[in-house]
């Protein structure tokens, strides 16, 4: 009988981590999924015990004395493994410092290698990336549609954006699939360009030649497939001669800055837009003359905060916007609640993601802020789900929207209108939402 997992996908460090779990339950106090689905199996403690048991049950010297898990039990373990946004909150509180993010992704890769995963919803995302180069099942040709009006000189907000195929640039603005394809979120791309143009940054975009960063594939365990696509993507990016790559999406940022260098070295620095805007402000290239009288609370994207350690830059940017008052949520920075959208959770378990998002929105409402600001289009989308479901009056905003509003002199309203209550955050023709 074959093994339930391809154990060779795990390193001995991962196996040590399974042994090291002391079942203390610190993870239980913070896990956003357990908050909504209180089953031991979805807890890091439960996963560690389950997979340790499976490891020994299938491979140890005493395996003949142990009961081998049934196929249903293995399938249950796999399902629980995917019922997780891989937000890394458990990693922050684990007293034995188990790197749960790496461990879950390695276990997912081992599951996929044994043909036990990923979930069907994730397969659909992968198919879409293969067919369309984006997980949104949108035609590749519509990737730069958000910039079309500007290209035709019809946009009042931005100037035409240069394509890097037409001229070289110091900075590549990597838009990412969510901001490029989601009609409710494309304003993130427009606002980003507006800020970059205001600061007179020498930048360009890849247009239709921009590829999906393939974060979703890595997160759900399609590691080999990710490696192949990432290699080609790195070659493309390295050939551009850019000095800096700037992303809107925290997921793209983490993938390109952290995961790509494991495949091949990068010839450029990778910055999230929050970091880049702060740099521009510190250099005096981006000055905000308008006032935005707004009370906001800031949601730390998991991939930006816990996974990459970027907590201060977005807050410093907000602090430099005249009129903006930042009120922190009870759980912020390392302890920030997840919006539930990442790690394949939104695609695989949309109802759980909805409840997690509502929980975060309630926390934001408790601050009394008028707007919930984040700096990731995917979190934007994920939190908008919670705002819509709970009928919250909170306004969802991206960090670039706040900064963009302060570019003009005088007292400003935020530039883009909020989506209508109940509106889908994704185009109607799209299938299941994607994961960061």
């Amino acid at each position: 009988m074959s093994d339930s997992l391809d154990w060779s996908r795990l390193s001995w460090r991962h196996m040590l981590e399974l042994e090291a779990c002391a079942r203390c339950g610190e993870c239980q106090t913070m896990c956003p999924v357990f908050e909504q689905d209180s089953r031991e199996g979805v807890l890091p403690r439960g996963k560690a015990r389950g997979y340790k048991s499976l490891l020994h049950g299938e491979n140890s010297l005493l395996r003949l004395l142990r009961r081998r898990p049934s196929d249903d039990e293995v399938q249950g373990l796999v399902s629980d493994l995917y019922e997780c946004s891989v937000c890394g909150q458990c990693r922050e509180v684990c007293p034995v410092e188990i790197d749960t993010v790496e461990l879950w992704e390695a276990l997912r890769a081992a599951t996929v290698a044994a043909d036990k995963g990923p979930l069907p919803a994730h397969q659909a995302l992968y198919q879409s990336i293969q067919n369309n180069d984006n997980p949104w099942q949108q035609p590749r040709t519509s990737r730069d549609r958000w910039a079309t009006r500007a290209a035709k000189g019809k946009s009042a907000e931005i100037e035409p954006v240069a394509n890097i195929a037409e001229r070289t640039a110091e900075v590549l603005y990597f838009v990412g699939c969510t901001a490029a394809f989601d009609m409710n979120i494309k304003q993130v791309a427009v606002n980003t360009v507006r800020v970059l143009q205001a600061a007179e940054v020498d930048f360009a975009i890849l247009g239709q030649e921009e590829h999906c960063c393939c974060s979703v594939m890595l997160r759900v365990g399609l590691r080999d497939q990710f490696g192949e696509r990432a290699q080609a993507h790195i070659e493309q990016l390295n050939s551009l001669g850019i000095r800096t790559l700037v992303t809107s999406c925290a997921g793209c940022f983490k993938t390109i800055a952290q995961d790509y260098p494991r495949i091949a070295p990068l010839d450029f620095e990778v910055l999230h837009i929050s970091q880049f805007m702060l740099r521009l402000m510190e250099e005096g290239r981006l000055t905000l003359e308008g006032e935005v009288p707004l009370s906001v609370t800031y949601h730390d994207p998991c991939h930006l905060g816990r996974h990459r350690g970027v907590y201060d830059a977005p807050r410093e940017v907000l602090a430099r916007v005249p009129g903006v008052q930042l009120v922190e949520m009870a759980r912020n920075r390392e302890r920030a609640r997840c919006c539930g959208a990442g790690g394949g959770l939104k695609a695989g378990f949309p109802d759980v993601q909805d409840r997690i998002s509502q929980s975060r929105v309630q926390e934001a409402e408790a601050t009394g802020a008028e707007a919930l600001v984040s700096s990731c289009p995917f979190c934007y989308q994920g939190l908008q789900v919670g705002i819509n479901s709970s009928g919250s009056a909170l306004r969802m905003m991206d960090l670039t929207e706040v900064v963009s509003a302060a570019l003009q002199k005088g007292t400003q309203e935020a530039v883009s209108p909020p989506p209508a209550p109940g509106a889908d955050a994704v185009p109607a023709e799209q299938d299941e939402p994607v994961t960061a």
Binding site: R23, G25, V96, F203, A257, P265, E269
Partner: protein
């Protein structure tokens, strides 16, 4: 006082340690057989992390002082009692008989120090165990799930600890308590007569056998984390020291950092 048949006891001790070693070794062999390689470098970082954050559980301290105190009491109590047992074995088999060291620990002062050492750390262990049991069964902390393995680990440790005090009480009853600093042992002198145990060595054997069973059981139980967790923490810490996590303003590939230059 020592076992009447020390050779038998130490044979059993050897067997217990062998079972422990097989348990630990089997895991390492399993990992080597199945897992992909993962290079570990930086022995200095590892040792610093092992002797610092790993054995002092600094992250748990940040989370909760109470939980940290409970865990520290159990960990250090158990470890330092084990050190004493190891030292007693060394006195029996390794330290030259008639030498200054052997004479010191054979006379009243040395014996009193050992008695005090054992009772202090035994008491620390006992307090930790009782607090852990109260937290699990009386307070019913919602973050705890109690499976058989959790219960066995705690109760097993408690029984070993209590029989240790009872054995100490039996020793004091036999040898006299006048010069002893074993304050806990005195409190347990009632155990031997209360249970009608005629042979004073009975409690020693009960405690000894249970202790050896516990040692043999360690890697096959929840308590296996005693070995895995410190190594895990030290590996993580040393890896972070060698390659610090990116911070707000330090992101980018290695070749990009080498290039430096003015920002775009």
């Amino acid at each position: 006082m020592s076992y009447e048949h020390p050779a038998l006891f130490y044979l059993l001790a050897f067997m217990a340690v062998a079972v422990l070693a097989v348990g630990l070794g089997a895991r390492v062999l399993l990992w080597r057989k199945l897992a992909s390689t993962d290079t570990v470098r930086g022995g200095g970082h590892f040792l610093r992390a092992l002797l610092g954050p790993a054995i002092f559980q600094t992250r748990l301290l940040r989370l909760s002082r109470v939980r940290w105190l409970i865990h520290m009491a159990i960990f250090w109590g158990f470890l330092l009692l084990f050190v004493e047992s190891f030292w007693l074995m060394a006195l029996q088999w390794v330290v030259p008989e008639g030498g200054a060291t052997a004479r010191f620990f054979a006379d009243s002062t040395g014996e009193a120090i050992l008695g005090l050492w054992g009772d202090v750390w035994g008491l620390v262990l006992l307090i930790g165990l009782v607090a852990a049991l109260v937290r699990r069964y009386a307070v019913r902390s919602p973050q705890l799930e109690t499976l058989l393995e959790d219960a066995v680990a705690l109760w097993f440790l408690l029984v070993v600890t209590l029989t240790g005090f009872a054995a100490e009480g039996a020793r004091l009853a036999l040898e006299g308590e006048a010069t002893s600093w074993a304050f806990m042992g005195r409190g347990f002198m009632w155990v031997k007569p209360a249970f009608g145990l005629e042979d004073p060595m009975t409690l020693f054997w009960i405690h000894g056998i249970l202790s050896l069973l516990l040692i043999a059981y360690l890697p096959y139980s929840k308590l296996g984390h005693v070995f895995a967790a410190p190594v895990q923490i030290a590996l993580r810490r040393s890896a972070r020291e060698r390659a610090p996590a990116s911070a707000d303003r330090a992101c980018g590939g290695p070749r990009a950092r080498e290039r430096g230059g003015e920002p775009a």
